[in-house]
């Protein structure tokens, strides 16, 4: 300080601006912290703390009533041998590996449709989006009725189509043509959920539409001059240009599909007669989250359920990491 005072005028000025700057910096730090504080508190209370206590409970046999006993790794060794866990992993993997790509491809198709040029397009867009606003629980209840094997419109329609096919073709086929029993046949239950997912694809389709709109038109014009067909243009311009969006939706889709719950819960309510949460016909709709809910809130195996939750977290982390690595190679970010 004293040194600064004895120095020339210019130096004094730079020093005071420096001090001003550092004071401002400190002010920014505190206001920044204050404005971010809701999230920081929420992060500690609703993320860090529960994860830590989940780790603690996963080593115990806690059931809400007794004081927890330490059982070391028993929950985890039980989990690996639990038939329900394995079945639920199979079902969940089916939804991630088969269901998710079908739903994403369909929603991309819908964004292409939404991007078409025709009269009344805003109305078409709105209609395609409406199912996305329908609550997932309501759409589950609706599809239980629409896909009802005897009275649902889908099967009434399929039966009418089958009735139109002449008899000699039917006789020549090695199998009998029959409308599937969507909700009660374990072979079709998951497909029913996937079809329902496609119906409600509006949310992802709108995001895809925004990405399509972002592709510069000069690219198409140049390609058209070079005589590229519509199909080539789509594969070589559109797809690479919107690939970051597809990747984002794919990653978010993986995370969400691992937590698939509400729709399956509603379906299972219809196919079970017991008080305990059902797993659908032959456990074909026993998803990971359903099984976890059942262990926690029907059987009150809280310790075990915490272990299940942590394992789910690990699986999601590993799978998304792999998916990001693999898809990063296919995504082109370099075009502006």
């Amino acid at each position: 300080m004293a040194k600064a005072l004895s120095n020339s005028e210019g130096k004094k000025n730079t020093l005071t601006t420096k001090r001003k700057k550092s004071r401002q910096k400190r002010r920014f730090f505190w206001t920044g912290l204050a404005f971010a504080s809701p999230w920081i508190i929420g992060f500690i209370l609703f993320k860090i703390y529960p994860i830590c206590s989940a780790i603690y409970y996963s080593f115990t046999d806690f059931n809400m009533f007794r004081t927890p006993n330490f059982v070391v790794l028993q929950n985890f060794t039980n989990l690996v041998q639990d038939k329900n866990v394995i079945k639920s992993l199979e079902n969940t993997a089916y939804m991630v590996i088969i269901g998710l790509p079908i739903m994403l491809a369909f929603s991309m198709l819908m964004s292409v449709v939404m991007n078409m040029k025709a009269k009344g397009m805003p109305l078409v867009r709105t209609i395609l989006y409406i199912p996305a606003v329908v609550p997932s629980m309501a759409s589950a209840l609706l599809f239980l009725w629409v896909m009802n094997s005897r009275y649902g419109i889908v099967n009434q329609f399929i039966n009418q189509v089958i009735a139109l096919i002449p008899g000699f073709i039917k006789d020549a086929l090695p199998f009998t043509l029959k409308a599937p029993s969507w909700i009660n046949d374990p072979k079709w239950t998951k497909m029913t959920l996937i079809i329902m997912g496609c119906w409600g694809c509006g949310g992802t389709a709108v995001i895809g539409l925004a990405a399509l709109r972002g592709v510069p038109t000069q690219f198409y014009e140049a390609a058209e001059l070079d005589g590229a067909s519509r199909w080539t243009r789509f594969w070589h311009i559109t797809i690479p240009m919107i690939s970051p969006t597809i990747q984002f939706q794919f990653i978010m889709g993986i995370i969400n599909t691992f937590q698939y719950f509400t729709q399956a819960y509603m379906f299972n309510m219809f196919t079970t007669t017991s008080q305990v949460t059902g797993g659908g016909p032959q456990n074909s709709l026993l998803f990971y989250a359903i099984n976890l809910y059942r262990e926690a809130f029907d059987f009150l195996h809280m310790g075990y359920a915490c272990a299940l939750g942590l394992v789910l977290f690990m699986i999601v982390l590993v799978v998304t990491f792999i998916a990001m690595r693999v898809s990063d190679k296919m995504v082109s970010y370099d075009v502006e």
Partner: protein, 285 residues
């Protein structure tokens, strides 16, 4: 060139193409709408009329009684009131907390901003099931089971996805706006709520509607935390009604219509802003 464009063959080709296009769009729209129309149509039929072939889309004598019956069995009035509490309070919470956090990480030049944002993105990957059970244990220790606190409080403390959307939008606002206001001596609270907030109309609507829909739909939260039927939200109300009326599809569909229609109405009211908001905020740039 000009000759080619006015030749009859070209015009015919274009007309056919147009017809195919419109036919495709009409069929597609019909497929998307049919389930909902079928729901409403079913809700207006007598139980015996459900099995009539061919399908009667518009019942000759609409059974409005079905709705009366449903309102008598299901206490929709109470449930809707409860659901408005459990969905409007979170909307309020998110609309206060989210812009604050987003403002902190986009408009205030402090060290934390660069650290916080990646963490926010990372927390989106934590499956709800991981934190759900320990939180249930904690809330029950605090004797807050069977209250709305566990359903509402988290929304006042920053939800990652909405912070992300908010941040995407705020990043597109010019920084000079804030700097100028700071030079004029405006405090950050005033800058946020008087300058930034009014500019965020579209995102705020989008986020508000998304939160409202999410809370209106939420089944797993109320399923775990709400036990007494006076506190039921419409989602668990409908769920417990389904258990008692498994084969009475006309009643189930009437209840389902009551559950769904408010959301479709809200969507139509804020459609323009809402779709625009989704499109601008989810752009990954």
């Amino acid at each position: 060139m000009n000759k080619k464009k006015s030749s009859p063959l070209f015009l015919a080709k274009r007309a056919v193409g147009g017809i195919i296009k419109y036919a495709f769009l009409i069929v597609l729209c019909a497929v998307f709408l049919l389930p909902l129309l079928w729901m409403i149509s079913t809700s207006l039929k007598p139980n015996a009329g459900l099995l009539v072939f061919p399908i009667e889309w518009i019942p000759k004598e609409p059974m409005w009684e079905n709705y009366v019956k449903v309102f008598q069995i299901v206490k929709f009035g109470t449930y809707i009131k409860n659901t408005l509490i459990t969905s409007l309070t979170p909307v309020l919470g998110v609309l206060i907390a989210t812009p604050m956090v987003a403002y902190s990480i986009t408009m205030i030049p402090w060290k934390g901003a660069k650290i916080i944002f990646p963490i926010i993105l990372a927390t989106m990957m934590i499956p709800g099931q991981v934190t759900q059970i320990p939180m249930y244990i904690t809330w029950s220790k605090l004797h807050l089971i069977n209250t709305y606190v566990p359903l509402i409080l988290p929304f006042f403390l920053g939800t990652p996805y909405y912070i992300y959307l908010m941040r995407q939008f705020m990043k597109s606002l010019p920084n000079s706006l804030v700097e100028a206001a700071r030079l004029d001596g405006a405090g950050d609270v005033r800058i946020l709520f008087n300058i930034i907030y009014p500019l965020c109309g579209p995102v705020l609507t989008t986020i508000g509607v998304l939160v409202f829909i999410a809370c209106w739909n939420d089944l797993s939260g109320p399923l775990i935390y709400i036990q007494s039927s006076e506190l039921y939200t419409i989602a668990i109300g409908l769920k417990s009604f389904t258990l008692t009326a498994k084969t009475q599809w006309e009643l189930l569909m009437a209840a389902n219509t009551v559950f769904t229609v408010p959301l479709i109405v809200i969507f139509f009211i804020c459609q323009k802003q809402f779709l625009g908001g989704i499109a601008t905020t989810s752009g990954l740039k």
